[in-house]
Structure formats: structure tokens, C-alpha cells
Symmetry: C2
Subunit: 190 residues, 2 copies
């Protein structure tokens, strides 16, 4: 299980044996039932997750409606924006499938940084990559119509169309469930 985490991190920098061991020691593995709320709006967040198996959804609640902002699946990491900051979270994190994840805490992170300062470079590099990806995703969103966004999702993350309820995909794509249904109908006729 921990190997998955090392594999993931290796994409961003060379992981020494020592760091590898520190990570394996520090991170603990947990499993959650489908429907588990990992973080609720207003809560202080003190955990971040690395998904080994399953799917986590992040969403806001606006006017009583859920507004899905992202889906995280295998090999994805979820760091709540309020993580370790002692400020209440603006959004929810929910396991929409039975999920197994590596769980990290600020304490464990700080401890690791003290032992291995290189860890901080890693976090920084990872953070920069996330920023770049988010910028691209946002620009892409603005540049395309809902229909184009659906097609793009179909191409890039076809698994989501299978494993995620449609009304959650709808808000993720920035349309109503009715619209998404119509988009799918329109596309199936081509």
C-alpha cells in the first residue's frame, strides 16, 4: 500500500531510502465507507489524504445545493485548502465510494521536514505543479462550452462518467442536471 505513495511522489522528485522510510512510518493507512464525510464546512481540517483506492469528492453548499468542485481518485492527493491553517473549511470532502487512503497530519509533516529538509522542496514542487494544473483547468473551463467540457471529461477521465452520479458531474461541469441530460442526448444523436 505505502508503495503507491512512494511511486506517486517519485514523479515529482527523487525519493531517498531514508525519506521513503520516514513516509512509510509517518503516514497511516485508513479505510472509509462510502458516504463518509472526511471534512465538513466550518470544520478545522487536520488531515490530508493520498488515495490508494476509491473516490473522494469535494463540494461546497450554495443555497442548499451541492456544488461539486473536484473528484479525486486512485493516486490522487487531497489537501484541504484549510489544512493545518486553523481556519474553518469552506467546503466538504466526501468518500463517494469505499475508499482506502494514506492520511497525513501537519504534526507528522513538520516532524518529517525537521528530519529531512528536502521534504520541503518536494512539497513546494508538488504545490507548484498543482497550481499550474489548476490554472490550466480554470482557463480551459472558461474557454469551452458545457458540451465541450463534457466531451473533454469523457476523453480525459472516462472512468468518472461511470463511477460518479450524473447530478454530481453536472455541477462539476457547471450546468444543471437537466442540461447535462440534454447534452448527453444531443451527443448520442451524432
Amino acid at each position: 500500500m505505502e508503495n503507491e505513495i512512494i511511486k506517486y511522489l517519485s514523479k515529482y522528485m527523487t525519493i531517498s531510502k531514508e525519506i521513503e522510510e520516514a513516509i512509510i512510518e509517518g503516514v497511516y493507512i485508513r479505510s472509509y465507507k462510502k458516504g463518509t464525510i472526511l471534512l465538513a464546512e466550518g470544520q478545522i481540517s487536520d488531515e490530508c489524504y493520498f488515495i490508494i483506492k476509491g473516490c473522494i469528492r469535494s463540494y461546497y453548499i450554495k443555497d442548499g445545493n451541492e456544488m461539486t468542485t473536484d473528484f479525486f481518485t486512485e493516486e490522487g492527493s487531497v489537501t484541504p485548502s484549510a489544512y493545518g491553517k486553523n481556519i474553518p473549511s469552506a467546503y466538504y470532502l466526501e468518500c463517494i465510494e469505499d475508499t482506502i487512503a494514506g492520511v497525513g497530519t501537519p504534526e507528522q509533516e513538520t516532524e518529517m521536514y525537521q528530519k529531512f529538509p528536502e521534504g520541503e522542496s518536494l512539497s513546494r514542487a508538488l504545490g507548484e505543479t498543482i497550481i499550474a494544473k489548476q490554472q490550466d483547468a480554470f482557463a480551459d473551463f472558461k474557454m469551452h462550452s458545457p458540451e465541450e467540457r463534457y466531451l473533454h471529461l469523457q476523453k480525459e477521465r472516462p472512468d468518472l462518467l461511470q463511477r460518479v452520479p450524473q447530478f454530481q458531474l453536472a455541477s462539476y461541469l457547471g450546468v444543471t442536471p437537466e442540461s447535462l441530460s440534454r447534452i448527453r442526448k444531443r451527443l448520442s444523436k451524432k
Copy 2:
């Protein structure tokens, strides 16, 4: 001038006298004429900016049209997503006003990290803050109609409505210039 940078960074962590001096030594101040392209699509980016005075716009070009993704003004920092990564930039950076900025380079940064490892914590903290802000902005965008987004902009960054051409605001808001014109007309009648 350098004081502005220190003031900005102080929001995110305590800056010791030593770091302060290192920053002042390392960062150099430049001024750019309105219209200067700081970074073009396809270019390798090796500079990041801290705006002391002026305005920088980031935009993609899609089907020959400019697609504005952000405006950075006084006390804002601009780190191209490809900064220091040796990969070509996906977007442009342009000064849309005469601009004075502090300029940082990867070399200078690395040098600073070696002298002051705390600098890395600072970068990390700053990066996390940027990620959180981006997430919120993206969620907000999806949650609101173009009209609501315009009102929000009017409330949060009223200066932009004055200093930025409307067609650039339009793509930033995710609508055509014609639509933005109509939205403004609609709102003026209330």
C-alpha cells in the same frame, strides 16, 4: 521599493532581518512600458514578478482570440506556471499599464534557499495560500452566472473595472464583449 515586497511577504510569515536583506540583495527592480510582453506562449519562463506599481494580465490565445485568465495589480505576485521548469509556457503575460516590478529568478531563489532554508517554508506557505485562493475562485466561478460574477468583481476589485479594457474583462468573466455590454446595460436599469 523593496519594502513593499517585505511587507507583502510578512503577511505569510515572520521575516528575519537576514532574509529581508537577502531578498533585497537578490531581487532586482525593473520597470516596463505598457504593452510589454513579459512572457509569450511557447517561451521558457525564467522570471517571476512582484508588482510594485501597475498591472499585469495573463492570457491564453485560443482560435486567434485572447482569453484573459487573471489580472495582477499592486502587491500581487506573478509566478508563471512554467517558471523554472524548462517547459514552454501555455500563456502570455503582458503589462497592460506602465509597470514597476521586483523580478526573481530560479537561480536567485535557489541561492536564497541555500542560505536560508526557512525561505522554502515561506514559498510553500505562499503556494498553499495561492492554491486555496484558486480553488475558491474556480468554485465561485462555477457557482455564479456571468451577471453575478460581474457584480462580484465590481465589489471585490472595483479598480479593475476602471483600469482594464472591457473586452479583456469580458473574457476574464467568461463571456463575450457583447454580453458584458448587455449585462452592464441590464444592471444600470435597476
